[in-house]
Symmetry: C2
Subunit: 287 residues, 2 copies
């Protein structure tokens, strides 16, 4: 699989298996048709139409919406429709920075096809003109993509934390990076994608950071989410990305973006344009 | 005008003023309807339909196509339809890296709405944790955007030169950067856009480079294209981008991309997502 194909894996063109769900007339997610039909059991919360699902308008506050949808999510978990309970709340809004409309258990986010946000940090070390990247391997008990390769530090954005605060928290928990060093992480852009993963729609926006680490820094994981770290050559990382699915699905584009930004690829190489623009073309339409 | 609006300025959604033109059934450009009608005068070269214009299939080699279209372009220049003759050939292909189908005088590129390529280099200086960027002001006699602010080094990709060779040439001509230093420029990505500029369609792909310069380096222009250089603070550049149209139309996104990649903006600022993803959304569909 070429690196460009690895990016295509993170996009979906055909949404015919899904229908929109709306709050106050504004679309905030996509429901798979069978999930939408399952919501017919909760007529006090959802109006289920064949073309779209609307949250009932009497749920007109953040607290009402969070409580009513929360009850449905717990019922869906008992029915096995929501799986892998995280006990972690994400904010749901039409787009980033808008006032959240409700809070939603993280495990329900892809079931309701709402936008989620995360931070991903490339921890790297310079060796003269060369760069090496710290790569983590996810613990075998992770609910998503166990055992896969990952960024040094990454995490979903929980309700009420801004990206930098979340990054500082994750730096400490995932890699033992103290706050003063974590604060040197540089925001370097955003990747957004809409993709099918395990038959659910993920609409994620990742805030990307680079952190240059001292050559003698050794990461240590505190929260059990990362089994081991390795400082890897960029050529080895490129080969793994090209030849295997060893990297977590959404870490592949983050690292391809890192490789592009740091000059690992050259415009004179075949496919450079396609790869660099492939990152841009992941991004679903605005809104 | 917000920086996001500055990006929107580099995109066009409505192509109804244009019709496709094709070679061998493959679209390679867009012609404004009045330009398409003007091509009715050259029935041995173009088949002009109301929905599309096709190059005549008997023009079945690079040399035949270049000669026949070249004759038409000279005639269009005499009629004032092609303006600002450059005497510089660009390669025309369906997409980058494919075998060129013909060579075309640069002044005709936006008239025929074909894809063009260029290199843009951000020349910067570090001052502790801060960064300053060298900005050029275009000479008052430039055919495009005279007097506007520009990257330190930038240039269209002429027929037969690859991006790095072109960058080295432009570094010497535009800023007096010798080859060993120019070779340290790092490719950092690609920006593509399709926009209306002076009523013509520009479909450009820019190969972006960053070059860190020594603090004592002073650029000198040799080709008369840049009137003066200034080493500017990023805050000042951001203010000029926000408040004026002083930057050349396609340099604005290049510099916004630089500011995003170098952490000048933070995810916690309002509009960060919109700005970072706005760069990605410039990119027209693949092909």
């Amino acid at each position: 699989m070429s690196l460009s194909d690895r990016l295509l894996h993170c996009s979906i063109a055909d949404l015919s298996a899904f229908r929109p769900w709306t709050i106050g007339g504004v679309q905030i997610g996509w429901l798979r048709h069978d999930v939408a039909e399952a919501l017919c059991a909760y007529p006090s919360v959802f109006s289920v139409g064949t073309d779209a699902v609307a949250l009932k308008p009497h749920l007109d506050s953040f607290d009402y919406r969070s409580a009513a949808v929360g009850d449905v999510v717990r019922a869906l978990a008992e029915r096995g429709i929501v799986q892998g309970w995280r006990n972690e709340a994400f904010a749901v809004a039409a787009s980033y920075g808008e006032t959240p409309l409700l809070r939603l258990e993280r495990a329900a986010v892809p079931v309701f096809g709402v936008k989620a946000y995360g931070v991903h940090m490339n921890g790297f070390v310079r060796d003269g003109d060369r760069i090496k990247l710290w790569i983590g391997r996810r613990a075998d008990n992770r609910p998503i993509e166990p055992g896969k390769l990952d960024n040094m530090v990454a995490g979903g954005l929980p309700f009420g934390l801004d990206p930098m605060a979340n990054l500082i928290k994750e730096c400490a928990e995932e890699a033992g990076i103290a706050e003063p060093l974590a604060r040197r992480a540089r925001p370097v852009g955003v990747i957004a994608y809409r993709m099918l993963h395990e038959d659910l729609l993920r609409q994620d926006t990742l805030f990307l950071y680079d952190l240059e680490l001292p050559a003698d820094f050794v990461p240590t994981n505190a929260d059990g989410e990362i089994a081991e770290f390795r400082l890897m050559e960029l050529d080895e990382i490129e080969a793994i990305l090209s030849e295997s699915e060893a990297f977590k699905f959404n870490v592949a584009p983050v690292i391809i973006d890192f490789l592009v930004r740091h000059g690992h690829f050259h415009p004179d190489q075949p496919g450079y344009c396609e790869l660099a623009l492939g990152l841009a073309r992941l991004s679903p339409p605005a809104g």
